[in-house]
Symmetry: C2
Subunit: 348 residues, 2 copies
DNA sequence: CTTTAGCACTCCGGGGAAGAGAGTGCTAAA
DNA sequence: TTTAGCACTCTCTTCCCCGGAGTGCTAAAG
C-alpha cells in the first residue's frame, strides 16, 4: 500500500494532537484539523490503512488512533517541522547558562536543571574527555614538616590539589629535587605506567622520600582515573509525575530508579550532533516505553559532552529537539569563550 | 481526664500498628495486641477518651483510630523504645560510609544516598563550617608566561587551587615576592578585609603584578565565600512513591519539588544531637503533613554537619532515629580518624 | 464504679448494571 | 473515490446495593 501525501498529513495531525492531549485521536478531530476539505468518513478509511501499515495503533475497537513507535519514527524523520526558537527563548537559555563559572561539575548540574525546567522532562548531562588524560606538571608545597600540598596539572589543563600527610618527616630541602623527578619521570604517562616507573626509581631515592613519592603517585593515579570517568548528572526526574502516562506511582518509580541508578545505561551516542531514540529503539529494558533525545556539545577542543532528555514516547520531539540544540550550542559557545576548561577550581 | 498507664499502652499499640499498616486501627486488633487481658469494648471506651484528649483521630465514624500529631509527639517523647541497631546493621552502615575518601561533596552525596536506602525515606545532608573560614597560606606556581596556578590553603585545612590566565605577561622572577606579600598581608582575614587591603597595597606594587594579585584575591574571596555556604544534598526522593500516602502523583510531586528547590527551608536545628519534627511542628508549608528527623555529626573540630530524613507523619520514628544516629556516629568517627577534612582534593 | 457482652447503626469500598458518549466499520448512494 | 447514514462496540461514569469492619450505646455482670 502506498503512503500517499494525504496519509502523511493525517499521520502528522495524529502525532501532533496526541502529543498534546495524550488522548486517542478520532476521525472527526482530524477532519477538523485538516480544514474541512475532507469528511471524517474518508479519514476513517485512511486511518484503517495507516493502522494496517503499522504507523498507528488502536487501543481498542472504537477508540481513536494512537501513533506507534514506527509512526513516531516517520514523524521525526520526515514530517516534523524543525522548530526555530524565538530570540526571546534563546536569550533565556543562554541566560540560564550564564552563571558564575565554577567547577565543571556544578555547571553541568546547573545546565541539567535548566534543560529539565525548559522542556518539562527529566534530563541528564555528562562530560567526557576525548582522549586520555595524563599528568602534565607536578608541584609540592611544604606546609609544615608533616604536611605538604601536592598540585597536579593535567593534560587537559585541569588542576587538582591535595593536602598530603607525611608518615615520615621529610627534609624540606629535598622537595625541589623530588618535584624535578616527578616532572621528568611521571608526566605524560598513564596511571599504570606511573606505578611501573615508581618501581624503577625505588632504589635511586632515599626511603623517606620514596614513601612521599608513592603517596603522590597514588594520588595522581586516583585523580587521573577519576578524570577519565564520565560522571552523569540527572535532573528533574519529578517532572515525570506531571505526565499522564506516569500517574501510576509504580511506573514513575521504576523509571526514576533507572535514572538514578543505572546511569551507565543511558543512551550515549558517540557521533551524531543529535539523536532521537523512540520506545523500543532503546536498548535498556526500562526505556522501552520511553523516548530519549540526546545532543552533544563541545568543551573546548579536548572534551565533549552530552545532554539528553527522557520522556514518554508521546514526547514533544520538535520542541525538545529545538531547545536541546539551543542548549548544546549555548554550552559549546560558553566553553569556546573561556577556551578549554573554564575556571579550574580546587574543592575539598 | 487522666492519661492512665493503660491509655498510654493503647496509644503505643495504635501508633506502632498504624506505622506499619497505614490503616486505621480497630479496637479488636488492639485487644489482640494487648494479650487478650481486656475486651474490645473496654478498649473502645479508652479510645473514645484518647480521641477526646486529642491523641487520636477518627477518619470517620466507624473507622478505626489514627494517631494525631499530638499522639505521635507523646509516642516519640515517652512511649517509643529506643531501638538498638544490631551489630550486623551497624557494620553495614559503616561499610556504606567506607568509601575511598574523596571530596567532602562526594562523600556527603554518598552518605545521603546510603541513609535514604537504609531508612527507605528521602534524606538530606549538609556540612557547615562552625567558624569563619579564612585563607591560611598562598602559593603561586608558574606554568608558562601566560598562566599560573594559585593554591590556597584555608584555615580549616582545605585546599583549593585554580589555573589563572594572566592578562599581562609577568616576570616569573617576581612571583616569589608576590607570594610573600600574599602570605603576609592576606591571610587570616575575611574576604571584605582582603579587598580592603588590596586597595591599600595598590601603589606599592608594579601594575602588571597588581593585576595578577587582584585576580588571586578575587579567586580567594570567591572560594572562601563558597566554603562558608552550606550546600545541601538530597537523595532518594523517589522513595516517597512507595508510600501509600504519596500514591497521589500530585502530592508526591509537591513534596519532591520542595525537597529539590527549597533546600534552605529544610529543618536545620543548631543544638540538639537529634531532633524530630512532626507534621505541623514544621514551619514549612510543604512539610505540614510530613515529619522530619535530623541528626548532627562532627567533621573534625571545626565543622559540623546535619543528616535528615523526611517522611510521612506515619514514620517509623524508632527505626529512623536509631539508623540516623548510627550514621551520625559513623560519620563523626570517619572524620575523627582522618583528623580534620580528609583527603583534600582539587576538582575542575 | 469498671468491665463486658450484645446489638443496632454508620460508613467505606467493591462489584455489578445502566446509560451516555465517542468513535468505528460498513453499506449504499453521490 | 468520497460521503452520509447508521448500527455497533467499547469505555467511562454514575448509581446503587451489599458486605464487612468498626463503632457507640445499653444493660448486665463483676
Amino acid at each position: 500500500m502506498e503512503l500517499t501525501e494525504r496519509k502523511r498529513q493525517i499521520l502528522k495531525v495524529v502525532v501532533e494532537d496526541y502529543i498534546h492531549t495524550a488522548e486517542p485521536v478520532g476521525s472527526r478531530t482530524i477532519a477538523g484539523r485538516m480544514g474541512g476539505s475532507v469528511s471524517s468518513a474518508t479519514i476513517r478509511n485512511e486511518l484503517a490503512d495507516l493502522v494496517e501499515m503499522g504507523y498507528l495503533e488502536q487501543p481498542h475497537t472504537s477508540a481513536g488512533r494512537v501513533p506507534s513507535p514506527k509512526g513516531y519514527r516517520l514523524y521525526v524523520n520526515e514530517l516534523m517541522e524543525r522548530q526555530k526558537l524565538s530570540i526571546d527563548e534563546t536569550e533565556k537559555i543562554n541566560q540560564s547558562l550564564h552563571v558564575k563559572m565554577e567547577e565543571l561539575d556544578h555547571l553541568l548540574a546547573q545546565a541539567g536543571r535548566a534543560v529539565s525546567a525548559f522542556v518539562k522532562y527529566p534530563a541528564y548531562i555528562t562530560a567526557a574527555s576525548r582522549r586520555h588524560v595524563t599528568a602534565k606538571r607536578f608541584d609540592l608545597l611544604p606546609v609544615d614538616e608533616h604536611k605538604c600540598i601536592v598540585v597536579m596539572m593535567m593534560s587537559d589543563s585541569r588542576v587538582r590539589s591535595q593536602l598530603l600527610r607525611m608518615q615520615l618527616k621529610v627534609d624540606l630541602e629535598q622537595l625541589p629535587a623530588l618535584v624535578t623527578l616527578l616532572n621528568s619521570h611521571f608526566t605524560a604517562v598513564s596511571a599504570d605506567e606511573m606505578n611501573q616507573r615508581l618501581m624503577n626509581v625505588a632504589e635511586q631515592v632515599p626511603p623517606q622520600l620514596f614513601l612521599l613519592l608513592s603517596q603522590v603517585i597514588a594520588y595522581a593515579a586516583d585523580a587521573l582515573d577519576e578524570a577519565g570517568q564520565r560522571e552523569i548528572v540527572t535532573a528533574g526526574a519529578r517532572a515525570l509525575l506531571k505526565l499522564p502516562e506516569f500517574r501510576d506511582a509504580d511506573k514513575a518509580h521504576q523509571l526514576m530508579s533507572f535514572l538514578a541508578d543505572s546511569k551507565e545505561k543511558l543512551p550515549m551516542p558517540e557521533e551524531e550532533p543529535m539523536k532521537i531514540l523512540i520506545g523500543p529503539e532503546n536498548v535498556s529494558e526500562a526505556l522501552q516505553d520511553a523516548s530519549v533525545v540526546v545532543a552533544s556539545y563541545d568543551i573546548g577542543d579536548d572534551m565533549r559532552g552530552l545532554i539528553g532528555v527522557v520522556g514518554p514516547t508521546r514526547m514533544d520531539y520538535a520542541a525538545v529537539a529545538a531547545r536541546l540544540s539551543g542548549f548544546a550550542a549555548g554550552l559549546t559557545r560558553l566553553f569556546e569563550k573561556q577556551e578549554l576548561p573554564p575556571k579550574e577550581e580546587g574543592k575539598e
